[in-house]
Symmetry: C2
Subunit: 409 residues, 2 copies
């Protein structure tokens, strides 16, 4: 049961997923320009100010953190979107500092960022949105931020190369860049995001920016984004700890032709981005999709899936490729939203490991081998109704403890 | 940030708390006899059948798991207590097999255990209660169990030595025996328990047995036990994963003199037992008491404390002695039962690290040193009302991952 030290050390390696660059990024969407620059907010000297500007006001929908400690940029975005009714010209982002738990000064700084961009672009301040990610409780170094905003605005002219830099400038502890795109017939959906669990003091936020040139109905944008977020970004579970800054923006420039397949393209793009976040949970070796069906409602199904993902026993079993059905099914019984576990069926990678109130005579070694994959599917079928839901979770290994216990001490 | 392998290895040691034996145990309570024997259920050959018998029917209160996968012994206990209205002559316990997820055969086996004891003691079968802990999904080896019950009944006559064996026979993965007692003026409260997180397939249950000879009002027993459990056993958090078999029994033989301080004696005994369970969370190096005050209600306060304890980021920070206020306060903002975080104050070992919506200028090194204790106090003061609640949590370290990822593969 006790690992040799050499075995342990080998587990510290953080394998990365194999990635192919997305065919398009934000700056490639008709009507949008993007840029990212080094402003010196990050001690590492990596890019840390990003800017996205539309040629004219466009439709924007957004989903923000539900954390009651919402950071200053989230508060300012909510205010601006309420005023414009969902229109914007620009989004400014900084990494290296979350501008969270920074009081009135933080709110003022978020407003200044918007005002600076509004002056450069030539638009009302409420048409500028803002997002921040990085350390919390520290005031933004505003001279650097404002110089960065000016530099980013100038870099917008540089074209596609500058557009790629947007992604670099929003990252913090990410192990790899996260981007996805879906190409339609003359239109596209392109998105980038950042996030890899919430490491404090670098409280790594989930920030996502998705844009399309498809002519989407403005009134449909917000309900669509909420629905898509439920099955993608809001389905990601790394450490039971949503951050103060989580923000997802959807921008529609309405330049392309009719796009009947837009909804599913948006869904596919967001799901890929969400997968990339779950895969980058510290020390994660895989992404496990926990799919609950047969619950009383869709909401109940997702709550049950989340409860299963929250168990450290479940997540260490996933790390260890352990087909430990007892942990999975018993955690369903702990979910507040589960009324009855009678008739529960549990499948691991398609292998039925529990049904008719008892474990099956499955091949443990084969199930363990099947779990040693980059994508693992854990299915839990209830008999309470037609509700279904999904959560994507990272597994819990040694490196998670290492990164999170040793970070600041 | 990356630990040397030698540092990592040194963290694998599981330090134990310093324990002194309790002055009394179950078998020392007037009117009770206890025993524990080796029946061969455990492959290790350690004691695995325990029996507690009262000289006459006595008052019993009990609190069971809320998991919908309640195990067969829990179902039988609920049935028997409903029939007797809270009276019993005996409790039979086995370790090494939880008799959970075992279907109708499991229910029948739990009934047989009660019937065997009833025949030996000479009482109605509903006056016998039963508890099991160990692997799940495997039928009980009934020949061994029944022979063990006969041997345990004979051992009752052996006196105090046999009484101590009760505790040994209920343990599974426990790193040390867990017992506590409070002595009154001519009466006592004595308790034993087992539990150290939920390791499957050894789904280590929390089982606790507390007895007193104080003349307690029978009608007051159940509400009192529920109240005490809230602040003790139900406040323990190891891995967000309550088991299928959790059971707490309180037995009152009513042999002693008046006991005005009984309530607080029961509370002290249960709190000590609960502390011992939290301290034995796999890989735990300390017990952290998360105390929430100023919440809308006591229930809300405990729910918020539980939400904080559920965060792997919080628990790794505790392991790393990291005074990472951002993790603690932001998780309060994630709690469904928290209405507002305005005015939140966070204290670590008495050091105020966050107030007035911002971190204080506290000495990080001093705070980290203060966290390197066996008992850590994390206080979170809200301004919503007068509700207060407490959760005891273990920290999350390398050995937790090791034990739980490597257990069966």
């Amino acid at each position: 049961m006790v690992l040799a030290v050499t075995d342990l050390a080998s587990r510290l390696h953080h394998p990365l997923p194999s990635l192919t660059p997305a065919p398009k990024t934000l700056g490639d969407i008709a009507g949008l320009r993007a840029a990212g620059v080094r402003a010196g907010i990050k001690a590492s000297g990596n890019p840390d100010v990003a800017l996205l500007v539309a040629d004219a006001p466009i439709d924007v929908a957004a989903v923000f953190t539900q954390n009651k400690f919402a950071a200053a940029p989230v508060l300012v975005c909510r205010e601006h979107l309420a005023k414009t009714g969902g229109r914007a010209r620009a989004i400014v982002v900084n990494s290296g500092n979350a501008n969270a738990c920074t009081g009135d000064e933080g709110l003022q700084n978020a407003r200044t960022m918007c005002a600076d961009v509004a002056a450069l672009v030539g638009c009302p301040v409420e048409e500028v949105l803002v997002a921040s990610t990085g350390v919390i409780g520290v005031p933004l170094p505003m001279e650097k931020v404002r110089a960065g905003i000016r530099a980013a605005f100038e870099a917008l002219a540089a074209g596609p190369e500058a557009g790629r830099a947007f992604l670099a400038a929003i990252q913090t502890t990410d192990a790899y860049p996260k981007e996805a795109a879906t190409l339609g017939d003359g239109w596209s959906v392109a998105g980038v995001c950042k996030g890899a669990g919430m490491i404090a003091p670098n409280m790594a936020t989930m920030l996502a920016f998705v844009a399309t040139d498809a002519p989407v109905d403005p009134g449909a944008l917000t309900p669509l984004l909420r629905r898509v977020a439920t099955g993608s970004f809001n389905a990601v579970h790394v450490d039971s700890h949503p951050s103060t800054n989580d923000s997802l923006f959807l921008l529609a420039t309405r330049r392309g032709p009719q796009a009947p397949a837009f909804d599913s393209a948006l869904e596919a793009t967001c799901k890929r981005l969400a997968w990339l976040i779950a895969r980058d949970g510290e020390g994660a070796t895989k992404v496990t999709t926990i799919r609950v069906t047969g619950a009383a409602s869709d909401e109940a199904a997702q709550a049950i899936a989340r409860r299963v993902a929250e168990s450290a026993l479940v997540r260490t079993a996933l790390f260890g490729n352990d087909p430990n059905w007892g942990r999975f099914v018993s955690q369903v019984g702990n979910a507040r939203d589960c009324g009855s576990v009678a008739g529960l069926v549990c499948k691991l990678q398609g292998i039925t490991v529990f049904e008719k109130d008892a474990p099956t005579a499955f091949d443990r070694a084969a199930a363990s081998r099947a779990m040693a994959a980059e994508d693992v599917l854990l299915e839990l079928h209830l008999t309470e109704g037609a509700g279904s839901g999904v959560v994507l979770t990272s597994d819990l290994g040694y490196r998670y403890v290492e990164v999170n216990a040793e970070y600041t001490t």
